[in-house]
């Protein structure tokens, strides 16, 4: 039988097709060989690598601890680490690679909202699962993301009333970097300020990453405010606190109350510039429990830096892996949907205290705390809730614990308009 050219071509194509598709079809891949692969996606290069590298390290540390204790269902966890390069577009590409090519059932990643928004379509389209460790602005309800950082009601609902009642400050100057997180935080703050009998006299922004604070601090000085609420992000924070002191403002008369300034920024600016100012976070390195002290020690040993600091997003990066592990053990099969269903209501004793995943909105119950910064660069915790608080990502739009907007069925958009 003569092989004519057309048949040859067709057979050739079929054969090639089989070769190409076979690994995709038959490889249940990731979890066949006594190991579970997971994606770890943080920026290891670029401007954000300063902070994201520590989240990456905390994630890997949790994975190595779980493996040392026997893994998940007897299987070892293998981390496939990718570099988001501080660029949302790269984040999107790497997320696609992890989900489609590596077929991981879960990815841990992202620090900024911009990078989370960039990878969101990948996880929603492929019905995969993303664990996001950073405090963020809320206003998101995805079935494919587990949020383990604080949302505005866990940072501000305790903070603003405390500033007004305990500090006795009534006139707020709200300042932030010009993007979605500070603007949403400002929105929540204004509602809370007005509800508690205070007033806000300015709501100002500086470009993200901009570090020339001369004019803004002068404006703060002449505005007649008695407290500054800062949602400033990144290396701008450092220049802000320095300029604040250099223009003769002091935290005992006009304190900065911040939602982003963590141990890592304090270390970078030099603690003397922040002494006496306040920050609201569910986790501080200074939390005085044996569990947290041991955690800090283990982290320092893991990154081989005896002076390394821990902070809120880092701690969330760590404990979320344990929540994932518990969910993976509970799930009948280690698939994105299986883990998502199993993670609902999971509880864990994290370094910051008891945490729990809300079964409706997949956000995390956390304990709000307020700290005042000391000369050694550590926060002194001066106010804390007795127990974890329910996460309300839509608190700025009227969400309450008894009237959730984001449930297992998705976002109830009708409630947003009222």
């Amino acid at each position: 039988m003569a092989i004519d050219r057309r048949r040859f071509l067709r057979n050739g194509l079929l054969a090639t097709g089989t070769v190409i598709t076979s690994p995709w079809v038959f490889q249940t891949g990731a979890r066949a060989a006594g190991e579970v692969k997971v994606g770890v996606l943080f920026s290891l290069t670029g401007g954000l690598s300063i902070i994201e590298k520590s989240l990456h390290d905390a994630t890997l540390m949790a994975i190595s601890e779980i493996n040392a204790a026997g893994g998940v269902k007897g299987m070892k966890i293998t981390a496939i680490a990718e570099d988001g390069a501080s660029d949302p577009k790269t984040y999107n590409e790497k997320a696609s690679k992890l989900v489609i090519q590596d077929k991981v059932p879960t990815v841990f990643g992202s620090y900024t909202s911009a990078s989370r928004k960039a990878v969101l379509p990948v996880f929603e389209k492929r019905n995969n699962l993303y664990f996001y460790p950073t405090y963020y602005e809320g206003f998101e309800c995805s079935k494919n993301v587990v949020y383990t950082g604080a949302v505005p009601n866990q940072q501000l609902s305790n903070f603003i009333p405390w500033i007004i009642k305990t500090l006795g400050k009534k006139k707020f100057f709200i300042v932030g970097s010009n993007y979605i997180y500070p603007r949403e935080m400002a929105k929540v703050s204004k509602i809370l300020i007005e509800k508690n009998g205070g007033e806000w006299i300015a709501d100002e922004y500086l470009e993200l990453g901009h570090s020339e604070w001369g004019s803004m601090v002068n404006k703060i000085k002449s505005s007649g405010c008695d407290v500054v609420l800062s949602n400033v992000v990144g290396d701008s924070v450092v220049a802000f606190y320095r300029e604040y002191k250099n223009q003769g403002l002091t935290h005992d008369k006009l304190p900065i109350c911040a939602t982003v300034t963590s141990e890592i920024e304090i270390a970078a600016m030099g603690a003397e510039y922040a002494v006496g100012s306040y920050t609201s976070f569910p986790y501080f390195q200074a939390i005085d429990t044996d569990r947290n002290k041991a955690f800090v020690e283990r982290y320092r040993a893991f990154v081989k830096d005896p002076k390394a600091v821990t902070h809120h997003a880092l701690e969330s990066s760590y404990f979320q892996v344990f929540l994932w592990k518990q969910a993976a053990e509970k799930a009948a099969e280690i698939t994105p949907v299986g883990i998502r269903e199993a993670v609902k209501g999971q509880e864990f004793d994290a370094p910051n205290g008891h945490v729990k995943i809300d079964p409706d909105n997949l956000h995390t119950y956390l304990t709000p705390r307020i700290a005042q910064w000391l000369p050694d660069g550590q926060g002194k915790i001066i106010d804390a809730y007795k127990e974890p608080v329910v996460p309300l990502p839509y608190v700025a739009y009227g969400e309450t614990p008894t009237n959730l907007f984001c449930t297992g069925k998705g976002l109830e958009t009708a409630k947003l308009k009222t």
């Binding site: 300063i50 590298k53 004019s215 803004m216 000085k221 290396d235 003769g248 970078a268």
Partner: protein, 297 residues
């Protein structure tokens, strides 16, 4: 009001600090030096490292940073820039590459991270520089609180600008530099050693950037990317002032600084930034050679 004007002046002095070196390398030598911001960064790291390893303060760092960055500039000129005179766009690409190399060298601690060695003060993290107490806080003039550190920057900038003026206009080597700006071939024909003078000029411009880095380290964050945004502002000043004109750079830095300060005080910083760019565009459109262009024949 005095405080607003002072902040404008301070913004101008910071612009000039970065632009001075550029006014020389770009203005005088026709090299678009994208690595200029990295020279600022290296200067800032010299401050950090000398603080950690030698225990010295910011004043000692000024001459130290000048020497380190001038030598680095000399090296770059000898190895790369020398071969690219007269090829404006090629210098842009080449020096941009150098900029990335320098950034990564600092971030990777000259490659030592691969061997697991960590040098305190280098690496991808944020660094900070301690400022002597007498440069922190404010002092009072005419009822206005004046920022000490910004005053210090203004004084240093004024000194550097005067020194540069003196070298360019009152010394033998300055005369040679100006001759080369006008016409390198003619200067060479008159017996000026163009290669040597060019190398020295480039080193001097880089050294100025190093000093700018020391000043920046005192009130901004020190990290490997810090120079990138500064170099853009520097080019704005030089282009608006007129390429090759020292006086033009001084004036345009002052004008842009005051505009930024006044608009920011009246409205906000984001708008102020847009207005500054608008002004620069308008001036380039109306006077394509900048405020003070050299009159060529």
């Amino acid at each position: 009001m005095l405080e607003v004007l002072f902040i404008g002046l301070s913004l101008g002095s910071i612009l000039l600090l970065v632009a001075l070196g550029l006014a020389i390398t770009y203005g005088a030598m026709g090299v678009i030096n994208m690595a200029h911001g990295e020279m600022v960064m290296v200067g800032a790291y010299v401050t950090v490292l000398s603080g950690i390893w030698l225990g010295t303060n910011i004043f000692v760092a000024i001459p130290l940073a000048f020497i380190v960055t001038a030598l680095l500039g000399l090296l770059i000129e000898r190895v790369v820039v020398r071969r690219l005179y007269g090829r404006l766009l090629d210098t842009l690409l080449a020096t941009w590459g150098i900029a990335i190399l320098i950034q990564q060298a600092v971030r990777l601690e000259f490659g030592l991270t691969f061997l697991g060695i960590h040098i305190q003060g280098l690496g991808p993290g944020l660094q900070n520089v301690a400022v002597p107490p007498f440069l922190q806080g404010t002092f009072s003039i005419l009822g206005a609180d004046i920022n000490r550190y910004r005053t210090f920057i203004i004084l240093v900038t004024a000194f550097l600008a005067l020194m540069t003026w003196f070298i360019i206009y009152r010394t033998a080597i300055g005369t040679q530099v100006r001759a080369i700006i006008r016409n390198p071939k003619m200067a060479a024909a008159c017996g000026i050693d163009v290669t040597r003078v060019n190398a020295l000029t480039f080193a001097f411009g880089s050294g100025l950037a190093g000093v700018a880095g020391v000043m920046m380290s005192g009130f901004k964050t020190v990290f490997p990317d810090m120079g990138t945004s500064m170099v853009v502002d520097g080019f704005l000043v030089v282009v608006m002032g007129g390429v090759g004109s020292l006086l033009g750079s001084v004036l345009s830095a002052g004008i842009l600084g005051e505009i930024n300060g006044l608009v920011a005080a009246a409205t906000n910083d984001i708008l102020a930034r847009a207005v500054v760019f608008g002004v620069v565009i308008a001036i380039i459109v109306l006077k394509p050679k900048g405020l003070f262009a050299l009159k060529g024949r």
